[in-house]
């Protein structure tokens, strides 16, 4: 067997088998994710940019450089409503693949426009890519109106999750490299300490434990955090090839994100839903499915639409400005991850998340 053939087989195993989970598990993640996106007002990403003066328009290197002015208000309105509609369709599982691709594409476009006013945020790119990739996963095979309609069940594919994990790992590596090549590891100061302190005294990032954390002294402690951050970010690209190791790292990551929120007031909430796709939630998904089978098809249809639309209304009405700052998923993810991690270290990996 040549090295090339071995590499091709390894790629195939990674793409087709490594991140395989039952369809009901993927569907459960779909519902959770769409619920959060709707309730957090994801459809309003674009409309919140609409009030910014056009003089601030300065797209970064990319396709939007071709556009001289911000998009017209009618485009913003239509795109914003379309995003919310696509997310409702994703939630109820109606034409799920199309809804997933559409919501991801619209969010990516909205994010690109939002990032064209002088600063790039990083919370939405992976989320949008994940939705686009998962359009090919068949995650509408369960817990969906597509299923109720007795449409031909979609083909389940596992490579979208594998590719999502790979993109996540690339992102993390890209976060580490500029740190390695700048002064991040300069032993005469701690980059995290300065960033954290500047947040507290400079621009009011003093919520949760941030203010107390800023009072901690000890260069060794802070310098260790600098190193741990880089090692953590580089670890993804090393362990992504093996699901069991990646899952363990993802649980550490969930706790890491909560720590970052509490001490630096930086929230990457949506990313934990991408992490969730690597785990098996079929026990919870099947329990939900059993509850739903007791209902008539008519009740299921009415219930799904009314819940989806209610989430959209709540998100659009009450969540202005809160998207990606909605921090609840970080607390929940850490609360699930911590005992799982403890169990996997102490007693081997068993249970819901590891089957």
């Amino acid at each position: 067997m040549t090295a090339a053939v071995g590499l091709e087989r390894a790629c195939d195993r990674f793409l087709l088998k490594e991140y395989a989970v039952p369809g009901v598990s993927a569907a459960f993640v779909r519902i959770l994710f769409a619920s959060w996106l709707l309730a957090a007002g994801a459809g309003r990403v674009l409309t919140r940019s609409a009030t910014i003066p056009a003089s601030l328009w300065d797209p970064p290197l990319g396709p939007l450089r071709l556009i001289q002015h911000p998009p017209a208000s009618w485009f913003v309105t239509i795109a914003s409503i379309a995003t919310t509609v696509a997310l409702v369709l994703l939630f109820v599982g109606y034409r799920t693949s199309l809804a997933s691709a559409a919501s991801g594409t619209l969010l990516l476009a909205g994010d690109a426009i939002k990032n064209s006013y002088g600063k790039i945020d990083h919370g939405l790119t992976l989320i949008a890519l994940f939705l686009i990739l998962m359009a090919a996963s068949g995650w509408g095979s369960h817990l969906s109106l597509d299923r109720v309609r007795h449409a031909r069940p979609p083909v389940r594919r596992h490579w979208p999750v594998a590719i999502s994990m790979l993109f996540l790992s690339v992102m993390m590596a890209m976060a580490a490299l500029p740190k390695l090549t700048s002064h991040w590891l300069d032993p005469s100061f701690s980059a995290i300490q300065v960033r954290q302190f500047r947040g507290v005294v400079g621009f009011g990032a003093d919520a949760y434990l941030a203010e107390r954390f800023s009072r901690l002294d000890g260069l060794v402690f802070w310098e260790a955090l600098d190193w741990i951050t880089i090692l953590f970010e580089l670890a993804f690209i090393l362990v992504v090839w093996k699901r069991s190791r990646m899952r363990r790292l993802l649980t550490i990551a969930a706790i890491f994100h909560l720590f970052v929120l509490l001490t630096l007031n930086i929230s990457f909430a949506g990313i934990v839903f991408v992490y969730a796709a690597a785990f098996d939630w079929s026990r919870t998904g099947r329990a939900l499915e059993r509850q739903l089978t007791r209902l008539s098809d008519r009740v299921k249809v009415v219930g799904a639409w009314s819940t989806g639309i209610s989430l959209a209304v709540v998100g659009r009405a009450f969540s202005a400005g809160s998207f990606l700052v909605s921090e609840t998923p970080l607390f929940v993810a850490a609360a699930i991850a911590a005992p799982w991690l403890l169990q996997s270290v102490v007693g081997g990996t068993r249970g819901e998340l590891t089957s």
């Binding site: 919140r48 003089s55 601030l56 002088g118 790039i120 002064h183 005294v201 998207f323 700052v325």
Partner: protein, 186 residues
């Protein structure tokens, strides 16, 4: 064979995604800009550490038609309702103003990370012009009417402050940038 078979194509896809790491990094280093859509999580700004930490602190005030000066919280008063991205963008524009001698002040002068310095070059280039733009001034005036009835001038200053580690009380405050934006419609 020009077209690879399915297995080879899948493998090339995996290799291609991993190759984004050096590719994006090279583009970033060369252009000083973060390409978009990029797969980049932010590398934090860095500062210096010995017994103290130096931090740049923004102070914003508005002068009304009677000449009275009112303090403004740039995050809650001036930029209320903004998502985080434009908030940061505006504060970056503020920082890229002119100093007392009329010289352009480099954005994030306290940052020693090479990457951040290069990224700030873009802000510095046009920051003052953007703040003086009629559209921006109109927006700022509209926002500031929530603070005072008749805002005439916005004064933005950035000071460097020395903090002893473990304390949030500044040892010294040294004003470095002062920028005035005339808000009157004329």
């Amino acid at each position: 064979m020009l077209l690879p078979d399915a297995r080879r194509a899948r493998c090339l896809a995996v290799i291609g995604i991993v190759a984004l790491i050096p590719l994006q990094f090279a583009v970033q280093e060369r252009t000083g800009q973060e390409p978009y859509p990029g797969l980049f999580l932010p590398g934090f700004a860095t500062g210096h550490h010995d017994a103290t930490i130096e931090v740049w602190i923004p102070r914003v005030s508005v002068v009304d038609s009677t000449g009275t000066s009112w303090p403004v919280d740039p995050y809650s008063d001036l930029l209320r309702g903004f998502p985080s991205s434009p908030t940061s963008a505006l504060t970056n524009w503020f920082r890229a103003g002119l100093d007392a001698d009329g010289d352009v002040v480099p954005c994030r002068r306290d940052v020693r990370a090479g990457l951040s310095q290069r990224r700030c070059a873009g802000y510095t280039r046009s920051g003052d012009a953007i703040l003086q733009d009629a559209g921006t001034r109109s927006y700022l005036r509209q926002q500031l009417t929530k603070v005072v009835r008749d805002p005439e001038r916005l004064i933005i200053s950035w000071s460097t402050a020395q903090f002893e580690i473990g304390s949030t009380t500044p040892l010294a405050l040294d004003q470095q940038i002062r920028l005035t934006v005339e808000l009157s419609p004329s």
